[in-house]
Symmetry: C2
């Protein structure tokens, strides 16, 4: 009997990673192509097809490809489109799933990367037995994927799950979305850098971080400083956790998940982010939700999480509703 597999495709601004994944989360083979090298998206899809057939599936008659899942910025699950992606070379509404239909007669499904991460957590990660949870991806921005009753929330438009763009501070920090005070301007790798700048102004405390030009300061440097006991770095984590906890308790009021998973850059700061977040969640949470929700690190390895997430989307598509 052939082994059933799906393909996960992670479309990043620079590179596109393509992997074959079995049901046990093994990435059997992986390759990548440039995302930027194809001004015409039809050529790009042709190149992905070629990579799959001539590299990944070459001499693999033992594999039975069941479905393809794609994680892409501004991906719309309902329409199978990428819509007005700010960081990709293609413009407007790109009918990606339709283009794949030229080559494949199996299901091809697409969503944004944070939704794919949530699906990865459910199919392969720490949420295997959960029906209600939320994933916060803490990278340059803050993405989120919301699972309710075992399904991703896409909403009326297909774009639901933009917790990073909930407004936490009316009139607050300028956001890339054109508005002000969005969660991701506070809680993300770039957000904590801004918080450090704010603390430089507020506090007289010395800090080695004051020696670094703000443009070069990274969340990783702040984590390293925190590990050495730098007071500004520690307070920056505390303030970030405070805002994250506020978002978490509001998310809990909304959909009452069993767990919140933190994924990506900032989540790697470990206890510096998890301990204060837990403390503030306990302080802020509504009585009826006390002790009903956990804040957990993602169980997906960052190195292949995106491909696993995209693949999980494909597995979910072909598996009967549990």
């Amino acid at each position: 009997m052939k082994k059933e597999v799906t393909i996960g495709i992670d479309i990043g601004g620079t590179n596109t990673v393509i992997g074959i994944v079995d049901r046990a989360a093994n990435v059997l083979a992986e390759t990548s192509i440039s995302t930027t090298g194809f001004p015409d998206v039809a050529d790009y899809v042709a190149a992905i097809h070629k990579s799959i057939q001539e590299e990944l599936l070459k001499d693999r008659n033992d594999l039975d490809l069941k479905a393809i899942g794609i994680g892409a910025p501004n991906g719309n699950y309902y329409k199978g489109t990428i819509e007005y992606p700010p960081n990709l070379v293609w413009q407007g509404v790109i009918p990606l799933c339709e283009l794949f239909g030229k080559y494949y007669r199996i299901p091809v499904v697409l969503t944004n990367d944070a939704n794919a991460a949530a699906m990865g957590e459910m199919i392969f990660g720490g949420a295997k037995n959960m029906k209600n949870f939320v994933v916060y991806t803490l990278g340059t921005g803050l993405g989120s994927g919301i699972i309710i009753d075992g399904n991703l929330v896409y909403g009326h438009t297909g774009f639901a799950g933009e917790i990073g763009h909930t407004i936490m501070v009316p009139g607050g920090r300028e956001c890339g979305c054109g508005r002000q005070g969005c969660l991701e301007t506070y809680v993300s790798a770039t957000g904590i850098v801004k918080t450090v700048s704010e603390l430089f102004a507020l506090r007289r405390t010395p800090s080695e971080l004051r020696r670094i030009p703000p443009e070069q300061l990274t969340a990783k440097m702040i984590t390293e400083a925190a590990a050495k006991g730098d007071a500004i770095a520690l307070e920056a984590f505390d303030k970030t956790a405070d805002m994250l906890a506020l978002s978490i308790v509001n998310t809990v009021a909304f959909s009452s998940p069993e767990a919140l998973f933190l994924f990506g850059g900032l989540a790697n700061a470990g206890k510096f982010i998890f301990e204060p977040t837990e403390k503030y969640v306990n302080e802020k949470i509504q009585q009826i939700f006390k002790n009903t929700v956990k804040v957990l690190p993602s169980q997906l390895m960052e190195s292949n999480a995106a491909v696993l997430g995209a693949s999980a989307l494909a597995w979910k598509e072909i598996e009967p509703q549990s």
Copy 2:
């Protein structure tokens, strides 16, 4: 052929209303009993049963009772319980559906009143063809019912949909839940009264409302003053709408509904609340959600909405998933 009906039971702090409802939203018969008159909840359920059998269903062999739906404060759909209700005579966890099981072998389901209102909107009201929408009930507090993919969101605990207790202003107004700055302290019949008090302090503008003792001031009086052009009343609606719009755009970022329905006291203020809310939603909403969501008045009559909502819960329970 007998006519299929369900019973909707609305448990209020003072009275319990019980109605027979057909699939076309006709309340065929209605009665009520005192909620406070039964220190033992078993006696209360016996009294409801008696009212149903001896009043509502008496000489109605033409009716086929299919299910019972109950709307109750702190109702838990999963467990069929009322849990620690602050305003009822019974204490702790009350296994209401189980108690009904003594009398009925048909499905008996229970949820909180705002969830029931959302179900009523979907089965009988303005959301008949919608799969994703949210109802805000603007009464003394602010309740909410969230429908995603055609189902009420109960979450892991059964208590999801507490948008009234999302924290909008950290350190803000004291809330009955023991915390501060919850949405319902700003956006509700009592919230707008507080906003008027705040404006009395901020503004020098004369207002007839200044003649009324704050304890006696009601949202209805504020609406009447607004209708007469009272500047404080109009600004209070504007500020209420501003906060409501902030909550709405954050709700849209979360679950991307097709519509938000406003129900109850404050929603009756009509243009004074809807016009500024629409304006602020348009101002605040994230680009990708522009023009994807409507803010609408509930299409349920307030006089029988609670019984219809409870009945809708029962209908939803016995109808096949669409």
